[in-house]
Amino acid sequence: MNSRDGTILGYLLVLASGTVLQVLAIRSPERFPSLGRVFTHVMRTKTGRVGVSVAWAWIGLHFFAR
């Protein structure tokens, strides 16, 4: 395995961890929060809401804007 494969594997592991967490949250919501519930919690406050909105906007800017 070369460096490129290792780097991509790292991204896939992060993605897999998120997927596992989400599946756990769906199967036992009383023990694990889903990503949606976490965002809902974070976005209860104005600063949290602005922060998440900015993060979303940044993704668009990063991939499409100059």
Partner: protein, 242 residues
């Protein structure tokens, strides 16, 4: 205790009732101490040095506005105009009509139809946006203007604060929410590690590709860009509903 008061009590930035006068510097520090401001400033720095000054400028602008907003609220609190500032805390809006939402079958059916119509309208607008903006070349001025406009609109909507009551996470789910933080931070650090291993911040590395470099082939074509923009819009829709 009201939700607004509870939100304020949980927020260390809320000035206690009866607080004495606060200097401008102290008020500004209140805003600067918000973690989100530090995160935005870091993003502004890294995006600027990696050749995206517009991203950096916009992040810096939002960070500055957040500091200004928090400082203004802190000054207002100290002046005794309010013991609860608006930033960080919120109050659920009053219903537009007294009794709204109470069982009225005809009204409910009409409201349901209206909601379906609204969803279809948003869906059509989203598809059009994804198709039209996807037809623009990446990093071109039309693509930049379209994405910046929508991003600013989203932030402006977020600035109004939550529009309805939400249940906070408590107990075990709240503690385990940290697992999500670990996943997201690990992803961010992995991306940052790849970025720092590039030959130059603005030159991709084959051996250590960033997510941007890996998505370049997808975003090279009009359909690929439209699909990516559609996914971005869907995530935005999901977030607006939080």
């Amino acid at each position: 205790m009201t939700d607004a008061a509870q939100g304020a009590a949980e927020d260390p930035l809320v000035a206690p009732a009866g607080e004495m006068s606060v200097s401008l510097g102290q008020a500004a520090l209140t805003g600067l101490r918000q973690p989100i401001v530090a995160i935005l400033l870091l993003i502004a720095l890294f995006t600027t040095i990696s050749g995206k000054p517009l991203d950096g400028f916009l992040m810096l602008t939002v960070a500055t506005l957040l500091v200004w907003d928090a400082a203004r609220s802190r000054l207002a609190d100290s002046a005794g105009s309010s013991t609860i500032r608006t930033a960080g805390a919120w109050a659920p809006p009053a219903p537009a009509h007294p009794g709204a939402g109470q069982g009225q079958p005809r009204g409910t059916a009409r409201s349901s139809k209206r909601r379906v119509g609204l969803v279809l309208a948003w869906l059509t607008a989203g598809l059009l946006y994804a198709d039209v903006v996807g037809s623009f070349k990446r990093y071109s001025w039309p693509a930049t203007a379209s994405v910046v406009a929508l991003g600013c609109l989203m932030v402006a909507v977020g600035w109004q604060g939550p529009v309805r009551l939400r249940n906070a996470l408590t107990g075990r789910p709240l503690r385990r929410a940290r697992l999500w933080a670990v996943v997201l931070v690990t992803g961010g650090l992995w991306e940052l590690t790849s970025l720092l291993q590039q030959p130059h911040l603005t030159t991709d590395s084959y051996a250590h590709p960033t997510i941007s470099a890996l998505t370049d082939p997808l975003l090279a074509s009009h359909p690929g860009r439209s699909v990516a923009l559609g996914a971005w819009l869907l995530i935005g829709w999901f977030l607006v509903g939080r």
